[in-house]
Amino acid sequence: MSVKLTEDMLKALPDSRGHFGAFGGRFVSETLMDSLMTLEREYLRLKEDPEFQATFDKDLADYVGRPSPLYFAERLTREAGGAQIWLKREDLNHTGAHKVNNTIGQALLASFLGKKRVIAETGAGQHGVATATVCARLGLECHVFMGSEDVKRQSLNVYRMKLLGATVHSVESGTKTLKDAMNDAMRDWVANVDDTFYIIGTVAGPHPYPLLVRDFQSVIGRELREQSVAQAGRLPDALVACVGGGSNAIGMFYPFLGDESVQLYGVEAGGLGIDSGQHAAPLCAGRPGVLHGNRTYLMEDENGQIAGTHSVSAGLDYPGVGPEHAWLKDIGRANYVSVTDEEALDGFRKLTRIEGIMPALESAHAVAYGLKLAATMDKDQVLVINVSGRGDKDIHTIAQLDGIEI
């Protein structure tokens, strides 16, 4: 079942309490409520403030290097043997991923709110690097929380953050990955709520984060609309993006939600396969619950304890997902699928060898699914894959899998 989403419907979401249908909301301890309400109020004001928007746009252009190109992958298209495959090149952004679009926006908010200390959680380290980067630029104190498992597998990004002047806190609790990093960031925020701004890295967390992160990331989809018409002569037929928390995907999808002809595909981390239970695909195989301040699809056991996740890609290794995706799934507007670690690695190798573009392992999930999907489509159709980040950070992981020491 799919419903036609009118502009009015889209404008009304999330509602005033941060709900997307049955999902979203603000499920946090009382200490944080006042800060979240202030943030919501200030953001809604600044969203309409021409000075704020102009500063944001200028930073995206001059500092991030936007617009990011839309690239026709001719050889990859031939390889798949179906729809034209185009790549939205978020990997070319400053710091190497889409994450910076959001950190530029939130750091601006922090400055407007007069906060001098910034905290962030990170999985792959891309959001941590993007946060450390904007903090260096604005002279803000920066603390990044990262699970100790991820500190190990993303050591390059850990060092980048340190070079940028951030303090990296290795988190030893729970599963020692992204969800635990987020727990510790929340704990820090409760203790330092007066002077600290929490820059959440994806469209999850309590209201208004899913709203404001979506707004900041929507630049991806807005650019893509124009580029697609200018370069391919039409709107795309299908959009494909990987989904960890869901920020690169919602940023790409959001400006197309009202266009019924555009099919949306969010690709979750299938890990060792959905049936193995070793994955990070809550939309494909989870159920609704409440974690990290919002109601959404979660991976959990029958007693409501959050389940451990597995993915070769640290940035997708998260048991929840942004509430707007949960809603898009339930109303049937977007399709959520998964690819395994192995398929993603194959996607990485193909894009590297056929197009000379090395994607992040997160983005490689979208590449792998995009190749499969393109093969089922007509040659005159247009499929766009969001290359959310570049793969430099993953080279150690890939070398290790290849049994090579570097």
């Binding site: 309490r17 603000r26 499920f27 946090v28 200490t31 409520m33 635990d180 409501g304």
Partner: protein, 270 residues
């Protein structure tokens, strides 16, 4: 009148303050929790806050995080916690029990099933750390219909407008969180807490319990002077951690901690 209201009224008429210990159910082992609850009562407790372990206790510091991990390792589910209270009620029908935890285990069980089971077991109040009243539309009527007192938190950052609104949604007592921080962190500024709690009393007629950062008899008395009860958590849970393998020594250690607090609180009545 609910059991919580009854106990707090009786204490008030004697000029006494409630001593409210918090322990995580299933820590160090689910088989020991009921005996531990009886020991807490014997040591002078008026109400028990029983923590429901959760995999991601975002509002808790390391002490209670580790308690959750120990309890979960032994399979302490919400259903099992409810069964513990049912067993406790076989011999203690007087002491109110408040479940304190996070929303997701309740949501996974199903709110109506949970509310039925909680009422049937003789649970008296429910404190859900990550459920502000704004999100409680669904559970509030289920709790109200079964006389389960919804207990909400107030924080140093809570505005007057919210204090009033939250109190409207609460019964039994309101829980004032004395510090900005997670459980078991910084020590408290007693004067600041006194000022704030006095202000809360101006805005609500409900009894006010104060928790977070109360670790000894002296602080308990200082906070008891301005509130209706003190909630003692991390220091007890820490003690449990240190005596995990020896239940007898554990009960003695808990008694040694709580007895002086009880005395200090009761000395306020004279």
């Amino acid at each position: 009148m609910s059991r919580i209201e009854g106990v707090l009224k009786a204490l008030k008429s004697q000029g006494r303050k409630a001593l409210i210990p918090f322990v995580t159910a299933g820590d160090p082992h689910p088989d020991e929790t009921v005996a531990l609850m009886h020991a807490l009562v014997a040591a002078g407790s008026d109400i028990i806050e029983l923590g429901v372990p959760f995999s991601d206790p975002m509002a808790d510091g390391p002490v209670i995080q580790l308690a959750c991990e120990r309890a979960l390792k032994h399979g302490t589910s919400l259903r099992r916690v409810i069964a513990m209270v049912k067993e406790f009620r076989e011999t203690d029908t007087e002491t109110p029990v408040v479940l304190m935890g996070y929303l997701n285990p309740m949501e996974a069980m199903g709110y109506e099933t949970f509310a039925d089971a909680a009422a049937d077991a003789g649970i008296d109040g429910i404190l859900t750390v990550d459920l502000p009243p704004e999100e409680a539309d669904e559970v509030a009527p289920l709790f109200a219909a079964r006389n389960l007192d919804p207990i909400f938190l107030l924080a140093p950052t809570t505005t007057d407008e919210r204090i009033r609104a939250i109190s409207e949604h609460s019964s039994g007592y309101v829980y004032y969180v004395s510090i900005k921080g997670v459980t078991g962190s910084a020590s408290i500024d007693v004067d600041e807490v006194a000022r704030k709690v006095a202000h809360v009393h101006e805005l609500t007629a409900l009894p006010v319990g104060v928790g977070f950062g109360i670790r000894d008899a002296e602080t308990a008395a200082a906070v008891g002077r301005v509130s209706d009860g003190v909630i003692v958590g991390s220091v007890l849970v820490d003690t449990i951690a240190r005596h995990q393998t020896d239940p007898k020594a554990l009960h003695q250690a808990l008694t040694d901690l709580l007895n002086p607090m009880r005395k200090a609180l009761d000395s306020l009545a004279q």
